[in-house]
């Protein structure tokens, strides 16, 4: 069974958390089952979320989300959340204050409302609603 390492480095276009983009959902059956957590009122499994018609997300609570393309069964993106502790390039991590980023050329895309790194594909950084700190980091498939 695949397992999550919340300290694993964040690698653009490749993966994070010890999980690899473009791998098949069949490799994650036991892992996905282990994510289950229920809303105490509705008893709904809150780990599962349909993002759109053909994309489904499974959340390991507050640590990461894995998003599969239903049509191919492939892991399309992985999103590091507030309890994820791994780093990108030894410097960027969840909670990092945007204004303190010095060594990496990070740019804000107003259309996407995301930060990207010049010349690096397969990774984006989402700030909190006030654009002060990194709230989540997404690595996505380039295929």
């Amino acid at each position: 069974m695949n397992s999550i390492n919340k300290n694993a480095p964040i690698i653009p276009g490749i993966g994070l958390g010890n999980l690899k983009l473009n791998s098949h959902i069949s490799q994650y059956i036991d892992l996905i089952k282990s994510f289950t957590w229920l809303d105490s009122k509705t008893l709904e499994d809150k780990s599962i979320d349909m993002l759109s018609t053909f994309y489904v997300s499974y959340e390991c609570k507050d640590t990461l989300k894995i998003v599969f393309d239903i049509l191919t069964g492939k892991l399309q993106r992985i999103i590091a959340l507030k309890d994820y502790e791994g780093l990108f390039n030894g410097e960027l991590y969840i909670g990092k204050i945007i204004d303190t980023i010095k060594k990496i050329d990070i740019v804000y895309d107003e259309d996407e409302e995301l930060y990207f790194i010049k010349g690096v594909e397969g990774i984006s950084f989402e700030a909190d609603a006030n654009n002060q700190y990194i709230e989540c980091i997404t690595v996505y498939s380039l295929k």
């Binding site: 993002l51 107003e110 259309d111 997404t138 498939s141």
Partner: protein, 118 residues
């Protein structure tokens, strides 16, 4: 809360959206895409694939509207919104009012905000 309709939004351009932002509100992506197609544009619809959210992106191939993004509520701003990116800035249609929106709705450059209060 408004329910979805199956009536198209009619002709979409910057002027009509500014005059009547309700034109787009509550329309499903395919209805908006069809309205652009009726105006002669090729259109792609895709799920945003680079972030944590559920945004749907509609891109007409031509005209001065480059992109329409539909963001369901529950994202980092909590409120649902539609963002229209044009050659001359952005139009942002936001559910609710300033009090219900998390963050600074006026923080983006060249953006006109319309509140879609119930």
């Amino acid at each position: 809360m408004k329910s979805l309709t199956h009536e198209g939004p009619g002709k979409i351009d910057i002027k009509t959206i500014k005059e009547n932002p309700q034109q787009l509100w509550g329309k499903i992506p395919e209805e908006i895409a069809d309205a652009f197609r009726a105006q002669g544009y090729n259109v792609t619809i895709e799920q945003s694939k680079k972030d944590s959210g559920k945004a749907i992106i509609i891109r007409p191939d031509g005209g001065n509207i480059n992109m329409v993004q539909i963001h369901p509520d529950g994202g980092r701003h909590e409120s649902a919104y539609i963002k229209i990116s044009t050659d001359n800035g952005k139009l942002k249609l936001i559910s609710g009012n300033e009090q219900s929106y998390i963050g600074d709705p006026y923080g983006e450059k060249h953006t006109t905000v319309f509140w879609m209060e119930d």
